[in-house]
Symmetry: D2
Subunit: 267 residues, 4 copies
């Protein structure tokens, strides 16, 4: 990643013979390859750039977008709540521009796997290109198709739905998830959240939670510390739940004890 | 993890012959070992428990505490911003009760390493016990000592300070971090944030950011969706920066171009 | 208002011969009457109290409650958005414990009037007592009854509904409000907000707005400035709109131009 | 106030023979004078406008600005916390563009008075013009001058400072305020808040509070209810306190009991 003196950021994969065009001249990849990070480099027009390793968050912001992406503040939370780490197997649908795919891939690598579904072929192609650029495509299986037909995998640790009507696909999600597996979804409107909550209860999901994250940035001036004037007011509501198989919870089936409400109340 | 019908949660490591005492009877570990997750189990007094795999967030909440811990909402953000994933090497000081240590260990495993420093021996012992209980102690090197004397490691990818006066240890942090490495800290008061920002600029850190995260939970009732009455109003301010070596940025040294301000302004 | 050394607050109306019992002794009203504010007074047990004039916000917090009250942070906003000031006429239903009634009365006095409706007689009696204690009952007309039967007043400047199903009473509200008059409501759940928004559009209300206010308090320590640990996460959603008579907006009636959407979009 | 079909708002005082120019034609004031509010009017180019009475909040947004103004969300809170209502006397410095002046004037009218100080003559002239346009100039006394020289009034109920270094003027504020009177200030940075808190304690102010208000607007779509994408992240910190005369609080003077800390802790 290159940061210009005026704060613009450029994300690129270094390849011998290639060059990075910026608004302030050109930088040869060959001048970067093999050189230490954390240093300055001078462009062909004499402008200075700082060369740093990008974080996952910065890689996510750098994906080529043809949809609204999931932002790093939500992605960090999703990784945590869905218990994604090295070696885990996780399903994601739909992958959109691949920003969350990138984060999931980063955290399951090297031994785990991301199964990423997307209905629209051009989206899938763009997401795949974004993952390749980030060097993480080898831990992702991309599938183009309609998730109403079910997922090809089963026993996965976690499953995340970023689709308009996630409540339509809960039986498919339960089939793919291992018992006690982690379910998550993101939705922009309160009406959708209500609809999904209804369906999660019908499908006997447990430990249901709804939340939203507000990130407040500050101007980092030591003598004039203050929040930034504008902030993102809304990206989406996050919904989390656990896969509780009906045949393992006789009380839910027979005696109507409602595990999920109790679990959720305990938060 | 066991969840009782009335929502209480119990975290335990299963060992043959052991038993879990709860407020509602006893559960034999032997009845859990080898059994599927996502199912009910009945205690000696006839009470039902749901058996699920705990997430990292749940493990963090379950640590035995003798200090204020870093909460999962901040930990998820720290993992993301410090670029912690499988194989990375990260220093943390001080480890306190080990809640963040646990999260760092979970994400660097199996190939990475957490170097955790703590001045108070009894804290260190408790943190180590918490990590052992979570099965993650083998990727952590605990060191008891004063970080004013410097860190034993160098070239680490990331470094996080959860100490009262982090501004005192920035030269030591720079020595331990690789060029372009990720620095982070958490502080409760605005006065401390100002002090740290000052020191970060003096020490030529780059890409300085200050932020806080607000997590808003909702009651998951589909027909009466609403935020919870009370929320956590403050845990701490998060500060992030990048290690920019002075000898690699001649303009910062000679011509007083201030990389870090520009980078921060770009947010 | 009396503030004890340990921060407890006591609200009282001074009457000759009366006395205020506290957790730290007794204070004679006669010792307060005619004395300057902003001073200390000593109770019978030797404890010190600070004597100050209560603000409207403090009076609201001091009402005897038999219901959830509207909090000062929302009340200040409601006063502003409903354009309540000296001389205005405003309808409120239901009055509950009278906390908002008190604020409305304070701001319309001396020449204006609050018409306060409440279905439950014991609520009304308590609200009336709270207003009398605050010395503001003379600008309030209390009516016990069902607002489904309509309001006795018409041409009022503003109207506020704090009832469970405000969407049932919009025709009555329109009849009571002057053209362009200010409508407001408070509701705890998103489902109720959706229902009210639907009804407001059907009834041709204009300039519809939905909002919520978050108040974040800080510990006032100059050297350790920080937000308080816990904050109120939710009291209610505020909905505001303007009374646009159908017979004055031929385009809404004939040509289906939707004034209220456009007005709301302009926010 | 006129609202166009595309949501633009125009604020004007009606005067016979005058006309309002808009981006969509001209509207004759004579066509508005004496006509009912809440109705449509057609401009010379055939465009429709909705005619409504502006609220105080809308008048504030409509002031001609040559400075950052205090926003309605803070103004509503200030009115409440400073106990501003009909008949009260309040000092404000500096008045800036007069947005808060307008709100104070609206709430003290008709019997009360606002004493508004401003150092810069061109600011004062603009603020006065804004108050005249709103029809509220007759309850405001404007004074051009340096408040370091003190205020001409004394025994006022409330006093609000919107200046860069309010801590310089606390003795002057105490002289002008009645005992137990209400003090308020707004400041953008945490460093300024710390400085003011220090000075308030030195000057024996009581009941000190620091807070900030976050206003979250929603898109008023019943079937797609959600917060707006962007929100205002910061306008300023509000600081409130009470004037506690030293000669009325012997314990503060002699025995070092610190009333204000205790009062503040009680929040």
């Amino acid at each position: 990643m290159l940061i210009s003196e005026d704060g613009k950021r450029f994300y690129t994969r270094l390849r011998p013979g290639h060059r990075q065009h910026t608004h302030q001249g050109i930088i040869e990849h060959d001048d970067l390859i093999g050189q230490p990070l954390g240093r300055e480099i001078i462009s062909t027009t004499g402008h200075r750039y700082l060369v740093v390793e990008p974080s996952v968050a910065e890689l996510m912001k750098g994906v080529k977008r043809n949809t609204q992406i999931i932002y790093p503040k939500e992605a960090g939370r999703i990784i945590f709540k869905l218990n994604i780490f090295s070696g885990r197997r996780v399903i994601e649908a739909g992958c959109g521009s691949g920003a969350l795919t990138l984060a999931l891939a980063r955290f399951v690598a090297p031994a785990g796997r991301v199964y990423s579904y997307e209905a629209r072929p051009e989206m899938l192609a763009n997401a795949r290109a974004n993952l390749e650029k980030a060097g993480l495509a080898d831990v992702v299986t991309f599938t183009q198709g309609n998730i109403a037909d079910g997922f090809a995998e089963n026993g996965v640790d976690s499953l995340f739905l970023d689709v308009k009507e996630p409540w339509r696909y809960l039986p498919q999600a339960k089939s793919a998830l291992k018992p006690s597996g982690f379910f998550g979804a993101i939705l922009p409107t309160t009406n959708q959240v209500s609809e999904l909550l209804n369906a999660l209860k019908v499908e006997n999901f447990g430990g249901i939670e709804v939340e939203e994250l507000l990130l407040r940035r500050y101007k980092p001036a030591p003598g004039r510390l203050r929040p930034q004037d504008m902030m993102v007011g809304h990206t989406g509501y996050l919904i989390f739940a656990r896969n509780v198989p009906l045949d393992l919870t006789p009380s839910a089936r027979q005696r109507k004890i409602n595990w999920k409400n109790r679990a959720a109340d305990a938060e």
